[in-house]
Assembly symmetry: D2
Homo-oligomer: 292 residues x 4
């Protein structure tokens, strides 16, 4: 298929590479053009504008940092909106707010364009081997049309709703669940540490038994080692996602006390360590507060 | 080996049955004697007192509800203390407070007796097939002596410390981690539910991807279905364990804000639903508070 | 002085009436014109637009529900912006977000107009007797110019900063402190109630001793009586103010755990009781959750 | 009247001095005998044991640090229990747990002795001028009998219940309310501080308007100045009282989320600053966590 791909960060580059390797005809766009180079060498065309990446495309992916970045690329000059060919689909894989996803869906609908929210779970190394999990929200027919591409970037697609915003909500909720794990493991580890138990032996125990899941292993290791730099997912991004969870919770009127606690607590790394630490630094406060 | 086994609830009965099946010579004791019947039919001797279960034993297990029950059985008339043969080991598999475990260890040491804290993770069905995880705290030599028995009831033994109280702490911390999962999944599910996502589809998503662990699957199902009776682990027991976590956190001076929040929140099922619901009812409050 | 007054809710009407009684020449504007009638009878002129209320004015007050209402009145067609006479001052007494106050100040500055943030503490009955407390943020000279009018509506003016947004922040923080009182008194009262103490006797005790302040007396009475309707300050407004506190805390990177807890908790009346109850319904949850 | 007075800390000494000044015949006891000297000079007799202070007394006061201290003095050798003359009353003014107060009441009842729980609000300087507030729990007749003495030490007596434990609960709840003030003022001050507002000007504002109460003024000053030593009421004592509140809340099954949060947070000064700071150090964490 003829595919546009906008946003070549670590995630986007890995996803676009998968599409190229699967034989698709991919045109990429990135604000900082240098990041397109490695993909160009793998056969991608390079566009000068978002609209350029839409030219002739059946599907255009966006994989960007946040609402603002997608807003620029969709609604800005030479943006996607209005540049999508008739019948083409904009597949948004970024983690976006529920509110902005709704606005995006409405704008495309008004322009007679098709839209699919398809945020993903997984880090760049997972994206590189096409093993992401895709959370989709959109019309059944729209999903069906892009499924072959989703199967190239992900190992499984979960269609949560015909409403794109529901996919955004589910993706955000997943990040909340991860943050809860970071905090609770951080508290438990601070406790047993003070009680004389070795942090790594404890991690080995919990991840061999009840919590044999990658989230516990990966974040647990960082917390056991108290090593939060370099960031895989920087604290400000994590804080932003919990803020978006709380905004959705407010709109939907769902009291979420742990989410509130985490949103508050994630301000601490920002206040003290600036932008640099990983969001798993959240898991260090219980240890730090215990005087260790 | 010649083994005493005290406490024949669902867990204890399953563990004692495993020991019998493995060919050990087991004498059981239970306050309500009727519960000893099925084991008697499998070949167990039945004692009239805790001390009776110690007679001639190399190892005596206790598997009871809480500190008070163990206190009665160890320090009471015809109790274990003083009745243990020279060189025999008291293996305590109950979930106890750190404080009481310390007292227990000290009392046995003073009496010239050996003691091993060996609480377990796993429910009765897991105990029935000998697949528990054992968290051990005690002298290396003591552990080594009972290891053949631990291998009959569990699939793996984690020795956390030479101090019994460390094993108690680790076990309690595990229950805290489980309660955190219940709460956070409850909040996430309330959120996506209000956002129009099917609760079971959501559970399928999170447990197929990031949270592919039994705790998420088991408790997630109860929360998705909003079905909290009959209790597998009753709310008052869960509340008690979080209280013991908070008591340990206080003694060790480790601030644990999520533990504090959970301890508070677990009073709600007790206040409103009495003793009956499972502790996973904790995971329902976010949904209930959202007006659903 | 010649004064414009925009926004004739309970608070605005009382403040405008004070200005009239003090002999000032007041032109009022309200979207729902009928509310201007009582003031017209006291001698006020009535304008058809916000700009009309600015005509010839030395000072124009706005006293409106929230950011949106002020946005309409300032930036909308026939709005204040651009209609203020040279040298005139826009005095904003509404409770607004820090962010919007900053935008408002910047817009007026850009238009060569003067602006003073002057939110107030006090309810309508206090406004009616000119006993409000005024929290001012703006240039010293600007404050000095309107001080005679502030002295008519308030008993004292606190100049917190030359930055208008600081006054907005201080006002919001005050509402946070009030919400904290509601919650903590609610928890304390639930506790002693369950312990067999009469709620009103308890209120009498605490407000005669340590907490001899109007906030404790007023809200304490509502909580003791469990009577939350009709609303003096509706729950959605309270929830909005705490949200604005949290937004400011996020921007300034100040972790505020109690504010986070209150923001979460204030969603409950909205989810369950709709828009109607007073925000002091927050103080009832501890009692309700205790099964009473 | 003939009065015994046990416990000559700052509070007890001030209270005993008042009783002497009012012309009563006072026999004092303190574990560290040197503290009795100043009272002896004012005319007090000095006993060698708690029982000695009871000899011939109509009323015996205890004013001690905690449950343990009272336990020693009442149940210990040469303790109050059994030494009280027929018809005499033990007036307990210490801040005690609900549970221990119940035990105390039961023990006196069993011994055919009379008991009144009468904890007080106020600091030593307030005690010195007889302006404490007394919270009483006990039989009406018992209260009536000691009222003349209560009127010497306090400005007003609030009889909350015929059950002594209710007075203990009310006293503890008051300390919870104070801790809530410390925390919320701490958060508000951190916020406005970061927003460029002077901390002392802010305190002046809030305590001149909505929160014109001594608790806000006294603790607010400490927080504004960030000065937490020397302690007026040390952090470990404050933490203990919140723990007793939470224990009562658990027994009565009253979820108190702010109390839970405070109990957790009060561990931080203990973990980090040891025993020395005042409990108002609780009010500094928001500022510290904001990076200031």
């Amino acid at each position: 298929m003829k595919v546009g791909f906008i946003g070549l960060g670590q995630m986007g580059s890995a996803m676009a590479a998968r599409l190229l390797e699967a034989g698709h005809d991919v045109t990429v766009y990135n604000r900082t053009r240098a990041r397109a180079k490695p993909l160009q060498e793998k056969g991608a065309s390079v566009a000068d504008t978002p609209a350029g990446a839409c030219s002739g495309a059946e599907v255009v992916f966006t994989m960007l940092a946040d609402d603002h970045a997608v807003e620029d690329v969709v609604f800005g000059e030479q943006g996607i909106l209005g540049a999508l060919p008739r019948g083409a689909v904009h597949v948004s894989s970024s983690t976006l707010s529920v509110d902005f996803t709704r606005r995006l869906a409405a704008a495309h609908a008004e322009a007679g364009e098709r839209f699919l929210a398809a945020p993903v779970f997984g880090r760049p190394d997972v994206a590189a081997v096409g093993k992401l999990f895709v959370v989709a929200g959109g019309e059944q027919q729209t999903v069906a049309g892009v499924q072959p591409l989703l199967d190239v970037i992900g190992q499984r697609t979960f269609v949560m709703s015909s409403e794109p915003e529901a996919a955004a909500l589910v993706k955000l909720s997943g990040n909340f669940l991860i943050a809860s794990v970071i905090e609770s493991v951080g508290e438990a580890m601070a406790l047993v540490d003070r009680g004389g138990v070795d942090r790594r032996a404890y991690l080995e125990l919990i991840t061999s038994t009840l919590f044999n899941a990658p989230v516990y292993k990966g974040y647990g290791q960082l917390i056991a080692d108290r090593k939060y730099e370099p960031a895989g997912f920087a604290a400000p991004l994590g804080q932003k996602d919990i803020r978006l969870v709380l905004a959705a919770a407010e709109e939907l009127r769902v009291p979420m006390p742990v989410a509130g606690l985490l949103g508050d607590r994630l301000l601490r790394p920002l206040a003290n360590g600036g932008e640099k630490p990983d969001w798993s630094a959240l898991g260090d406060f219980a240890t730090a507060d215990s005087g260790a």
